[in-house]
Amino acid sequence: MDTHTISWPKEGNARVPYRVFSDQDVYQAELGKLFLGPTWQFLALANELPNVGDYKTTFLGETPVIVTRGEDGEIHAMVNRCAHRGNLVCLKRQGNADLLTCVYHSWSYDLEGNLKSVAFRRGIAGKGGMPDDFRLENHGLRKVRTDHFAGLVFGTLSDETQPLSEYIGNMVGERVGRVLHGKPKILGTTSQILHNNWKLYLENVRDTYHASLLHTFFTTFRVARLTSGGGVLIAENGRAHASYTRTKDELVGQEGSDKLYAGIQSQRDGLHLEDTRLLQQVSEFGDDITVQILSVFPNFVLQQVNNSIALRLVLPKGPDKTELQWTFLGFEEDDAALSELRLLQSNLVGPAGYVSMEDGAVGGFVQRAIIGSENENSVIEMGGHGHSSEETRTTEASIRGFWQAYRPLMGY
């Protein structure tokens, strides 16, 4: 039973009570209602586990999960908790195994999580052992439903979650396919600990307004500005969003753009790069979109910044702590020059990224600032009160879309 209540402000998605970013009861409710509830969360790339027996461990919220390539060649997922007395079954981040065997008492499961054997099940010399009515088939690992989209595998613990393609929707689904146009190849991974609530990072991801203001590098080196063409696509239920920028199509020309940014701290004049290879872009997506940031509620992000492609998984670790996991991708089809360009452009993003390092800190700044203001609200009115798709990025519509997805599931 819920012991907490949040009375949402009458302005709806244009206001967010700061309490939801810091309250322990809200956090506990989210772990159950969102992360163990009817949402899809990213588990793995399908080709990350190519061989039978390959496995990795990850999380649905804070709940540990094992993802495997089963004997049947399919991806399976299950909660990483022994059906016996709750021990972690897989301890490593990744590996390959014939059976998943718990180290505590050697209970063994197949790659789909079915219990296959219990050590000393029959006891010793006729004494001890499990009762005769103990059935292996009643004690498997808790299974996680999986579904695929464009080579991405997602999981859910709810039977009620609609199929993944419907959950993402056609509009944003096309934008996933646009980026993942080849056979993905992992270039490397990294992870960042953020000292803020997980939702502050998701708001940041959906916030197209901040990018060229907070991230001075973006503006100064014309990677992206609000004066570039672009817009936001937002699913009706708010669950999926994509924002995009067309840098080559500046709306007001370079002079007009400089004028609009004049006096804003994010524009620094007279700067130039000694080595500009970082800013080159190879056309690979069949359009003129230079930056596309996409999210699927609650915690998956797909990023294209020029030719840098990364998956981001946002894992809650407490009301004021979040792990942001990055997986950088190229494609098997990439030639050497494109592979190298993706590596150079990885400098733009990640924990040390020229246009992303500020995001590692800004959520923590908010988290520190809202202490004592739990009964006050943030103001999210750029672009009005709705959460429809728009052909501008000078809007916070996609943030309102996040809260549109969040509130019904939480009952707020």
Binding site: I186, L187, G188, T189, T190, S191, Q192, I193, L194, H195, L214, T216, F217, T220, F221, R268, L271, L273, E274, D275, R277, L278, E323, F328, S339, E340, L343, L344, S346, N347, G350, P351, A352, Y354, M357, E358, G360, A361, G364
Partner: protein, 159 residues
């Protein structure tokens, strides 16, 4: 140990000492001078390094890119005031030639924030290749291999 070996060790000790003080004294504009023009500098995790994955959290393939990194940190990027304190030790020559060296060394970096909060920010090893240039050793290749895959908050300054 020959006189030559001793000289070599002292040269390297001096080089890594200068490198640490350059960074910790916030003389970042001098940092690229430790590298040849055609250098390679990468910060990555042991996990990526050992799996042979090419990603760098910082991935720079010329001295000019190091200069750009410092310019961005000074002029474009926003982060809270913080200090790094490098402890570089266990410097080991893994391959020695007259004009080229392979060296590994351990490092620890303590980060101190403006409010005084201190943390062990990074631990790992350098896997370096050096060349002799006008009587001084310069980095041709420097791989900063972090033991942890996690970065706390953000990674701004060079390691």
């Amino acid at each position: 140990m020959t006189q030559n070996d001793l000289t070599r060790r002292l040269e390297l000790e001096a080089l890594y000492t200068d490198y640490a003080h350059c960074l910790d004294d916030d003389r970042l504009e001098e940092w690229p001078d430790f590298f040849v023009d055609d250098c390679y500098y990468r910060i990555t995790s042991a996990e990526n390094f050992e799996a042979g994955l090419p990603l760098g959290l910082v991935y720079l393939t010329s001295r000019a890119m190091l200069v750009d990194r410092v310019m961005a940190l000074r002029k474009a990027n926003i982060y809270e005031p913080q200090r790094y304190r490098h402890q570089i030790s266990a410097i080991k020559i893994t391959s020695d030639g007259d004009s080229a060296l392979h060296v590994v060394a351990n490092f620890l970096v303590v980060r101190t924030m403006q409010d005084g909060e201190m943390s062990l920010f990074a631990a790992g090893r350098y896997a370096d290749r050096l060349a002799r240039n006008d009587d001084t050793w310069k980095f041709v290749r420097k791989e900063v291999v972090l033991d942890s895959r996690q970065i706390d908050t953000l990674l701004a300054m060079p390691l």
